[in-house]
Amino acid sequence: MFLNRLLSDREGSASRNMMLSAMIWGLLGMGAGLFAATEFSFPDLVHNVPQLSMPHLRMFHVNAVAIGWLSMAYMGAMFYMVPSLTKTKLWSERLGNLVMWGWNLMMIGAVGCMLNGFTEGREYAELPAVLDCMAVAALIAAAWNVYATVLNRRVKKLYVSLWYFLGALFWFPLVYIIGQRTFVALPGLNDAIIGWFYGHNILGMWFTIVGVGMMYYLLPRLTNNPLYSHGLSMLGFWGIALFYAPTGTHHVLQSPVPEWLKAIAVISSIFLLVPVFSALTNFFMTMKGKWQMMVTDLTLRFVLTSTVFYYITCIQGPFQATRWINWYLHFTQWVVGHAHLALLGAFSFISTAAIYYGLPRVTGRPWYSIGLIRAHYWLKTIGFTIMMLSLTTAGLIQSAGWAMGIPVDQWGLQIRPYWLIRAFSGVLIFAGQFIFCYNAYRSLYTPVKAVAPAKVQEVKV
């Protein structure tokens, strides 16, 4: 009985639990980010509390939003979208729920470790060995679940989203195992090469691929337009598969790593424009004739905002990776802005859209308030735009400082206003996420009678 509650095999429960956990981790992660951002402006805010010092909060922030929020939202979305695309049930809801518990347990461990500084000292791969093993086991179980679902499919053709999901679930566990370097100690620069293989491919082989797959799923579903071109989407898929994985070294372009590796990284970074343009052409052509839906359909608005942010971040990326622009922009807040543009702008928005689309369909309960969805949208969009602009400006000031040889003490004072603006934008983003969680809580846990009448299947104004 207890086991049945813990590992429910009710249809859609794995997806629902994953999405809800993701929202909580998102809230905590964004809260940690906000707190850290505040400490940039008020460095004497907290004293003698190691758990709340900026570096520890930053470690937790990165892990909570990337591994907690985005990855769980992705798995939750896949547990909903894959059965829907294959017209079958998820292979095992129990296994899905087990993955959900394992992942949550790992994240709880991560809170304790990151806030107390139990880190492996590798940026973006900080989690200690035990948590790494848990994550790998959970990823393999999730992949098994999705692959088995696809093998049971009742639709012969694989839709493009499935290509992306299946690719990601094959690549990401391997990238994670290679990139975490859990049980190996390599000499410094070799460590850096693998570290950036991981640091970039957690984006390339996981966040981008699943995110783009979800865009391919949601756009035709929401607009009822057929996908513009299947061929173009395949070009995008193989483009990412070929050109994303070797780009990692562009993060250490001016360090003494081998030149041939840097050359491969820069060239394939530029070639990434191919999958980006093919995917975006496909998205925007699919929208043909349905652009007015953006005004009324909030889920679609999230998707389109996400594609636009994806477009901007992917234009920035290849140019930042070239030697001459990297020379100027590296080591600055511009890069932090770019990272937020990808993970917060593009992929958090698409995860949010997937939850707004999927959660009512999984639980059968409509959203509690459309007004709150609209508030969430504007808080996140305005907050993020402010954050992006302030980080980019701060980054340009820092770049000029490094390039002109101006001491840190001097440009440090010049960017203080931008730290403050960044912290303020964090308040908006955190408020947006809080409203999101509150809305979900009211939709799921208040009696149906209290909910305003709305059509179950539609999230519309």
Partner: protein
């Protein structure tokens, strides 16, 4: 994969080709020999006062890498010699870093006294007003000593092997000089010329802190830095004569006679060194004493006082 065998093979094949070529191949082909300029942690003896190997673990634990990098680039003027591949052989896990919200720490060792470093960890803003570094006052005395010990080893082994030299025509000028630049009398003669022409920007003691310095975007040189101690006569003469492009340093060749410029060279060579303490190994480091900061109003960060260090 019923009907998708080609696609699945492609996915697997592309991934493993890429992993082989960009992950495994560098591990096999890229094995830099230790340059002797990086820290060799296997050889560092555990010192009584502070243990830099443990200090490195504290550096990792406290996440210093999120704001401080450990590699110098060509354009990072003033951050010491450029790093080489062999410098990092013993750095595991690497602490190269990605963002600089603070200065680069590649060559941080012995730039500041240990007491300064320790006080800076406790309350950065007492020593660097406007700094946004968090206070690490929660570290224990031992942690703090070890961390400072580690910071003091950074870049100690990195030595400059070649310098920028004056153009060849100034080597010829060296042969024609009429002044003995090593003599005290010449330096004495140069002192007046320095006060009249240079002190407004470079300061009375040559520390680059003259009254004009505040309004200059590119700050005047601090002649007490060790960097200037290796300049030869011809390099000094070249710089005084030609000025420094891109800064407000004028071409004094237009104003001063060659003789006056040679007197100036003699004087500049007598300026003191900023930080006389040079440390080759951790054993020679000053013990980190319990620090006493000037009294400030905020009592929260009051450092541990009393007792001896490193218990």
């Amino acid at each position: 994969m019923n009907g998708y065998r080609l696609g699945a093979t492609g996915v697997v094949a592309t991934f493993f080709t890429i992993v082989t070529s960009t992950v495994l191949l560098p591990m096999v082909l890229f094995n830099p020999k230790p340059s002797g300029h990086g820290n060799d942690y296997s050889k560092t003896a555990v010192a009584k006062v502070s243990d830099p190997v443990r200090g490195r673990q504290i550096y990792i634990r406290e996440g210093c890498v999120y704001c401080h990098t450990q590699f110098t680039r060509l354009q990072d003027r003033g951050y010491g010699p450029l790093v080489k591949a062999g410098d990092y052989v013993f750095e595991t896990p690497h602490q190269l870093g990605t963002a600089r919200n603070g200065p680069d720490l590649t060559n941080e060792g012995v730039k500041f006294p240990s007491e300064w470093q320790k006080a800076h960890l406790v309350q950065p803003r007492a020593l660097k007003p406007g700094s946004i570094m968090p206070s690490f006052s929660f570290l224990s005395n031992r942690d703090m000593n070890d961390l400072v010990g580690y910071l003091q080893t950074l870049g100690n082994m990195r030595k400059v092997e070649s310098f920028v030299e004056a153009p060849t025509e100034y080597k010829a000028a060296l042969a024609k000089k009429t002044v003995d630049t090593a003599a005290d009398a010449s330096a004495n003669a140069g002192r007046g010329i320095y006060t009249q022409n240079c002190a407004a920007c470079h300061g009375m003691e040559g520390r680059g802190n003259g009254p004009n310095a505040i309004s200059l975007l590119k700050k005047p040189a601090n002649f007490t830095r060790p960097f200037y101690k290796q300049w030869q006569d011809d390099m000094w003469f070249f710089r005084i004569t030609e000025g420094v492009p891109g800064t407000r340093m004028p071409r004094f060749g237009e104003v001063l006679s060659p003789e006056q410029r040679w007197y100036l060279v003699a004087y500049l060579k007598t300026l003191p060194t900023n930080n006389e303490q040079v440390v080759d190994s951790i054993e020679q480091l000053n013990p980190v004493d319990a620090i006493r900061l000037p009294k400030l109003s905020n009592q929260l960060w009051e450092p541990e006082t009393g007792g001896s260090h490193g218990e």
